[in-house]
């Protein structure tokens, strides 16, 4: 059975456009559903109704919002740094699409198979930081610049515990043995390959959230900060910064940032599922169904957190990262390595 789309289409040049189209379609539906879900969850937590007018349960509300955004005029403020201003939304949008392509939805549904999938996901996350900075700098607006500086500082800081906690999982995967029996034979185990991480959990019959609970907690907190979500939404802080780095963007350009933000939520949740919750592993239902069920469960927790906790101050945020999360994740990594070396 063909494992990747490239193999399925026999190396045809159409593979890339088809894969991109599939992902774009999936992500659009995902973003529409997530925005609706966020409004419903917030309404539920605050004992309101949320959107009810358009479609059943207000399901079509975000579709209407999207149509409105598409039809809006694109306003370019006169004193912006034009190349950076125009490039930023595209650069924010492209890497998240590329990152989604790397995820294994089930053992046989992988769009792009890469030996260093985990690292590529983090690398694409790094590109988003550049886009945010370009947007903030190019807008020539002090709120936008302040938002961008905060966002970049926060993203760079929280990337460290995020990667370190993922790395302790990689160590565990590699310690599970030199080889792994995959669908059609034996392959050398590679902890940086996303599907190998899931296959190891599948075959060992244990989710890594049990073996690495501290890493899972650190990962979740850092993921909240990486996606700029409350209680770490200081870069956007409506009440003080208007909207942060995308203050000067309107219409479709704004919605590209919005799209990137919600897709980033999906990416960190999918990565959490791959690293800690056994990916496509689950009874009865097919692999992709489990994968997405688990991902949306993680996203629900992220929304729950957003509507429950107040926003942190910026110094609290940085202190927490550098003095608590990073030392803790390094200790966790060292302890993991020590245990593996002793066993």
């Amino acid at each position: 059975m063909p494992q990747t789309l490239t193999q399925l289409l026999d190396g045809s040049v159409l593979a890339m456009p088809i894969a991109a189209g599939l992902i774009m379609g999936m992500l659009t539906v995902n973003v529409l559903m997530l925005v609706w879900a966020e409004r419903k969850v917030s309404a539920w937590i605050q004992m309101r109704m949320g959107p009810t007018e358009v479609g059943p349960f207000g399901l079509l509300q975000t579709l209407a919002d999207m149509l409105k955004l598409i039809s809006k005029q694109l306003i370019t403020p006169s004193n912006v740094d034009k190349p950076l201003y125009h490039l930023a939304p595209l650069l924010a949008f492209a890497p998240v699409v590329a990152a989604v392509a790397l995820f294994p939805f089930s053992e046989s549904t992988i769009l792009v198979q890469n030996d260093y999938g985990l690292l590529f996901v983090f690398a694409f996350g790094g590109i988003a930081v550049i886009a945010i900075f370009m947007a903030g700098w190019g807008s020539n607006n002090k709120y936008a610049l302040l938002g961008a500086i905060r966002s970049v500082a926060q993203n760079i800081s929280y990337e460290v515990p995020l990667i370190l906690s993922a790395l302790s999982v990689v160590l565990v995967v590699n310690a599970m043995g030199p080889t792994l029996s995959s669908g059609d034979g034996v392959v050398a185990i590679n902890g940086l390959d996303l599907s190998h991480i899931v296959m190891t959990q599948d075959q060992q019959g244990i989710w890594f959230v049990v073996l690495q609970p501290i890493a899972a907690i650190i990962y979740f907190i850092s993921a909240l900060a990486e996606t700029n979500r409350a209680p770490f939404d200081i870069p956007e802080a409506e009440s003080e910064l208007v909207a942060g780095f995308h203050t000067e963007y309107s219409g479709m350009r704004f919605s590209l940032f919005f799209f990137a933000e919600y897709t980033n939520m999906l990416i960190v949740s999918m990565l959490a599922v791959v690293l800690f919750f056994g990916g496509w592993d689950g009874p009865v239902l097919p692999g992709p169904a489990w994968f997405f069920l688990k991902s949306y469960a993680v996203i629900f927790v992220m929304m729950w957190v957003r509507w429950t906790f107040p926003r942190l101050r910026f110094d609290q945020l940085m202190t927490f990262c550098w003095k608590v999360l990073i030392p803790l994740s390094i200790l966790n990594l060292l302890a993991t390595a020590f245990v593996i070396a002793v066993l």
Binding site: G11, L119, F120, A123, I149, T179, G185, V186
Partner: protein
């Protein structure tokens, strides 16, 4: 041009020289052919054999190589010619990405992803922060003016030219290494190793696997020292080129001292930067306040 400081002129010459070198060596038939040949080989493995059969893929990959190369050189020229520092940094990001692309074409996908993660991600942000905090210094860095300065610059450029030429001279060796890795086909490996042994180890279903998977399985077997040494070493060397294992072992064994030394130098640089950036406590109050405003 004439009122540009000498340091910037040096950099511009250097960029022009690099571009010239690329063009000259590109026109030199053997190097160009080798590049195209290698590109064709790598494409053959990246996609399936069907694509490689029509002969157009070699040109496509050569095109990719030249666009990455042009992007890298163009980006670095952009860096040294822009007056706006943030735009210059964005040019540098372009260069980093192009170099990552070149690594990918050399099979070193681990190096490529590290290039993006570390340079385009982290180092770049560091640059941006330094630029914003320093807020574009008015003075250019000090440089020797007049004929002496030109002489020093010329010597420096000549030395770098020699080093660059030296690197290009060695291209053929690297090329041979990559080709050797390409030729490490399933058949070659199976002919040199004991089928019974492979069967015992449960890797006999090897023919159904991809090239990379075969290499990986064999590598896993070799790590257990069960195959005879020469084949094991060949497979290991070929698989390890630019992989996590390869980079890791080399960095922590052969180049351990330079690696640690560089880390210490970086640490000292960070401490030094903080020491310089801190306000001077001995400075009179009024002056510090004036500076702050």
């Amino acid at each position: 041009m004439s009122n540009l400081p000498i340091s910037r002129k040096c950099l511009m010459w250097l960029g022009a020289l690099a571009l010239g070198l690329l063009v000259v060596f590109g026109l030199e038939p053997s190097v160009a052919l080798a590049a195209a040949e290698h590109a064709a080989d790598s494409t053959a493995h990246t996609f399936t054999s069907k694509v490689a059969g029509d002969g157009g893929a070699g040109k496509g990959a050569a095109f990719a190589f030249w666009s990455f190369a042009l992007c890298a050189v163009g980006g670095s020229l952009f860096v040294i010619t822009r007056r706006n520092m943030v735009t210059a940094v964005m040019g540098m990001v372009g260069t980093f990405f192009a170099i990552a692309g070149l690594y990918l074409m050399l099979y070193a996908s681990f190096l490529a992803v590290m290039q993006v993660l570390v340079y385009a991600g982290a180092i770049m942000v560091l640059f941006v922060f330094v630029i914003m905090i320093l807020n574009r210094p008015v003075d250019e860095p000090w440089a020797v003016q007049g004929i002496l300065g030109k002489a020093i610059a010329a010597l420096g450029v000549l030395y770098l030219f020699k080093r660059l030429a030296g690197i290009l001279w060695q291209v053929k060796d690297t090329h041979a290494l990559v080709l050797a890795k390409d030729k490490l086909d399933v058949e070659v490996v199976l002919n040199h190793s004991d089928p019974e042994l492979l069967k015992d180890l449960g890797v006999l279903s090897i023919r159904g696997l991809k090239h990379a998977d075969v290499c990986k399985s064999l590598f896993a077997v070799c790590r257990d020292n069960t195959l005879n040494h020469t084949v094991a070493d060949t497979v290991k060397n070929a698989y390890e080129f630019g992989s996590v294992e390869g980079v890791g072992y080399t960095l922590f064994s052969k180049y351990l001292f330079p690696f640690e030394a560089v880390s210490i130098v970086l640490l000292v640089a960070v401490v030094g930067a903080i020491a310089i950036a801190r306000p001077d406590k001995n400075e009179p109050e009024g002056e510090a306040a004036k500076e702050a405003s």
